[in-house]
């Protein structure tokens, strides 16, 4: 699909099929090859055929290909593609093969065409979730967090609340979003099935009043979340997100099998930022020392077991310990616990070799869960259950043995997760707050129980600087179809040219050029009441950073028709023309808001490196015309999400394509696959008169000639009254009005007009006489 562009979506189906057609040139030959194959090899058989055909028909020339293609009914685009492919294999072609290929192409094309009178544009209403809301966990769900190299489990509610009190939150719709400045890490599942500790970017909290669902898995783990909260599941080998409400018992969600270590010989598994690594390394060193006391670990293990697990929780240091330390601990533990494994019930993990399990009984649930994590460090997946008020942990001896005695030849090259089957789902009502965490990369994080869950908060991520919140989902589609002049989150994606695209510095230069900078961003503004003036004190670092000259600012202020005095290098004193308090305040306002650099409308700019290694600018706010002119900007690849602006700057056809592109990408985002024909119909309808019209009553729907149609859409009574007053007439040509009066509509079968094939000639005596003689009979319509 390299040459695809949205205006040819009609051909898209056919093109797919054609892609490799020509590559089959010779393999798709007739029975003779099969006959020959009995006696000679495939290559020889083909050679023989080739020689024979070429001898008989001559070689297939390019002109033959062209000619045959011209004779076909394929459109220009497909002819070009096919010609290119056929020419590439021309030597292997025979005339027969050429004919067959072109015929096949024609057939596929016909198949893919939309038939005349087909009803297009009816988009099935699928549920598009409102993004960013209600996809969260209740506050008491515990999650695994690593802070400064130490892992702990904390209630998500407490964690998020603390972050918000510390860093404040931005309110977006119903949610409060807090940008986390510290380095917190959570356990995240990657596309390759590996678990990694990833940075937390945002934490989110919002009110929720409704039903929570609680999933219980076969291994005894559980998680409670809002129904829209998404999880990750695996189907057909692919890992993808799925809404909680769509999960059914029997489906599988990922659970931690192997916990990646936090610090391994000071080579921290966490990607260290400068702040954490000295701390983390320090801890590494501390732990290394502990390993020397292997006996200590062993003793601890034994004590733990013998005291019937009386520790109320496992020591933090233990959980964060090095592999060796834990190993010793477990050795000690199991020295005291009778390893009387018994054959597992069929509920045990199907690990492969040896199915015996050991049942360890804990009184405290947290201790049990912590212990499970300990074992997860070695990739041992355990099953949890409850019995008689106690919390049990089933440990499969096979993997246990593999790790601790190295006898069993179990496959240790496993995924970091186990795809655990959901056993039951039930509901619980709540009206507390719910919480969510947004993680860099794959957006997954892990609970204390070991379940991996997914956050679908849709934000752009830019490591370290911030993110853009963009309207998505249903609200965005509504925005587009309403042709809103000012979309709620206009954003631009600016591609750069040449060296600007390759160097971060240069890219940031441009970013500074276009980002709105006002006087208040580079100076301190104060009013002096007794002197009745405004003081402007420049902040030199800011001015230098943004490369703004004082003279420019001064010049701009001068233009404002006030008296300006320069006191000292960085201070200005400004007097308003009138000596009134009111004027003074106004002046202060005007000065502080004065734009000195950047383009009006571009509130924020982010620099980001995309997958091709190019630096791209993303903006909050849109000003296409001006941005395109900036040096370094590639105007041919810069775009905006404001459709009206595109229509203004680039023309109506560009707007049409933009509409299609935006809607399709919004749908794709939700994993919805709608045939582009429907979208292009809408886009065409919206732009057909040369301007972007909304679908609603001020646009398309309102312009319909049919009274009944407009009345059925909105403001019913007014339309009917007006029409009656004016004596209007409805031609009943459209769909709505025919449905209202009960006639067949002019689409599909209703668009067909039947005509008799019986030849009307006087000599045809087989016809019944009455039909031949009447004038009306000349054109007999059949059917109702």
């Amino acid at each position: 699909m390299e040459e695809m562009n949205v205006s040819d979506h009609r051909d898209s189906q056919a093109s797919e099929e054609l892609k490799d057609l020509a590559d089959f040139a010779v393999t798709d030959v007739d029975f003779e090859v099969e006959d020959l194959l009995e006696f000679v090899g495939e290559e020889e058989a083909l050679d023989i055929i080739r020689m024979r055909y070429i001898h008989e028909d001559g070689e297939v020339k390019t002109s033959d290909i062209e000619e045959r293609l011209l004779r076909s009914n394929l459109p220009e685009r497909l002819r070009r593609i096919l010609k290119r492919k056929l020419r590439a294999v021309r030597e292997k072609l025979t005339r027969d093969a050429l004919e067959r290929i072109v015929r096949r192409a024609e057939a596929e094309y016909e198949e893919a065409k939309v038939e005349p009178n087909e009803a297009v544009g009816i988009v099935a209403a699928q549920s598009i979730g409102e993004p960013g809301t209600q996809m969260s966990l209740p506050g008491d769900e515990r999650i695994l967090i690593v802070e400064r190299g130490v892992m702990r489990s904390e209630r998500i509610g407490d964690f998020v609340d603390a972050c918000i009190s510390k860093y404040g939150a931005v309110v977006e719709g119903e949610a409060e979003i807090c940008h986390v400045n510290e380095n917190f890490f959570v356990l995240s599942l990657d596309n390759d099935g590996k678990l990694k500790w990833k940075n937390v970017k945002y934490v989110i909290r919002h009110e929720f009043d409704g039903e929570l669902l609680r999933l219980r898995t076969k291994s005894g783990r559980e998680i409670t979340a809002t129904p829209y909260h998404s999880f990750v599941t695996k189907k057909g080998g692919r890992i993808f997100p799925i809404a909680g409400s769509m999960l059914k018992p029997g489906e599988r969600i990922p659970v931690v099998r192997r916990l990646p270590p936090l610090a391994v010989d000071c080579d921290c598994a966490i990607s260290p930022s400068p702040e954490t690594s000295p701390e983390a390394s320090k801890r590494c060193v501390e732990r290394e020392r502990k390993v020397e006391h292997a006996s200590t670990a062993y003793m601890l293990g034994r004590m733990f077991a013998e005291n019937e697990y009386a520790f109320s929780f496992l020591n933090d240091d233990l959980l964060n310990g090095s592999d060796d330390f834990i190993k010793e601990f477990l050795r000690g533990f199991f020295a005291a616990v009778p390893l009387t494994g018994h054959p597992a019930s069929d509920e045990a993990d199907g690990e492969g070799c040896g199915d015996a399990v050991v049942n360890v009984r804990f009184h405290d649930r947290r201790v049990r869960d912590d212990f499970a994590l300990l074992l997860a460090r070695f990739g041992i997946f355990t099953l949890k259950s409850e019995s008689a008020g106690d919390h049990l942990l089933l440990i499969p001896l096979s993997s246990f043995a593999a790790v601790f005695s190295g006898d069993c030849g179990c496959d240790s090259d496993e995924e970091d997760v186990v795809w655990d089957e959901i056993e039951s789902i039930d509901f619980r009502r709540t009206s507390d707050r719910v919480y969510d965490i947004s993680v860099d990369g794959l957006e997954t994080f892990t609970t204390h129980d070991g379940i991996i869950t997914h956050n679908t908060m849709r934000t752009f991520h830019y490591a370290g600087v911030g993110a853009l919140y963009v309207t998505m989902g249903l609200p965005r589609i509504m925005e587009i179809m309403d042709a809103r002049k000012k979309p709620s989150t206009p954003t631009m994606s600016i591609k750069l040219r040449g060296e600007y695209a390759r160097s971060r510095e240069k890219a940031e230069e441009i970013a500074a050029e276009i980002e709105e900078t006002r006087i208040k961003d580079v100076a301190r503004i104060e009013i002096s009441l007794d002197e009745k003036c405004v003081f402007v004190v420049f902040k030199s670092e800011k001015l230098a950073e943004l490369r703004i000259q004082r003279e420019d600012i001064e010049a701009k202020i001068q233009k404002m028709d006030v008296n300006m005095e320069k006191i000292g290098e960085d201070i200005l004193r400004i007097y308003p023309k009138e000596e009134s308090y009111y004027e003074l305040l106004r002046l202060e306002g005007r000065i502080s808001e004065m734009l000195i650099k950047g383009i009006e409308g571009i509130k924020r700019v982010l620099v980001r490196k995309d997958k091709d290694g190019e630096y791209t600018l993303f903006t909050e706010g849109s000003a296409l015309k001006k941005v395109m002119r900036i040096e370094g900007v590639d105007p041919t690849r810069t775009t905006t999400s404001n459709i009206i602006e595109i229509a203004d700057v680039l023309g109506i056809e560009a707007a049409r394509n933009a509409i299609i592109e935006e809607i399709i990408s919004t749908l794709e985002d939700q994993n919805l696959d709608v045939d582009p024909r429907h979208i292009s119909l809408i886009a065409d309808a919206m732009t057909m008169d040369g301007e972007v019209k909304q679908i609603g009553r001020h646009g398309l729907a309102g312009e319909k000639a049919s009274v009944l149609s407009r009345a059925a859409f909105e403001v019913t009574v007014e339309h009917l009254l007006e029409a009656a007053l004016r004596g209007e007439r409805d031609e009943l040509l459209g769909i709505t009005e025919n449905v209202i009066v009960g006639q067949p509509i002019r689409l599909g079968t209703g668009a067909v007009e039947l005509v008799s094939k019986i030849p009307m000639s006087r000599e045809n005596t087989d016809r019944p006489p009455e039909i031949a003689d009447t004038k009306e009979g000349k054109d007999k319509k059949t059917g109702n």
Binding site: E110, E115, P116, N117, E118, G748, T749, A751, V752, E753, L754, V755, S756, K757, I758, T782, G783, N784
Partner: protein, 71 residues
């Protein structure tokens, strides 16, 4: 591609395949005729008007075709 036209300049005979809607309409109309007692144009043992109409269509003997207007 040749088109035959009638007096009014409307394309009267469809040279290529019928669309699925045209096919449905034709068979339907013919089935109605058969159901109302019209003579059947093929030799068959079938009894259901629709089935008969389908067979007639497949054999190409239905004397009904489509007029495609230029809207």
């Amino acid at each position: 591609m040749m088109k035959k036209e009638d007096v009014a300049g409307n394309e009267i005979i469809k040279r290529e395949k019928y669309t699925k809607y045209e096919k449905a309409r034709i068979i339907g109309a013919r089935a109605l005729q058969i159901a109302m007692g019209a003579p059947v144009l093929i030799d068959t043992d079938k009894t259901d008007p629709i089935e008969i109409a389908i067979e007639e269509f497949k054999k190409g003997v239905i004397p009904i075709t489509v007029r495609r207007r230029r809207w």
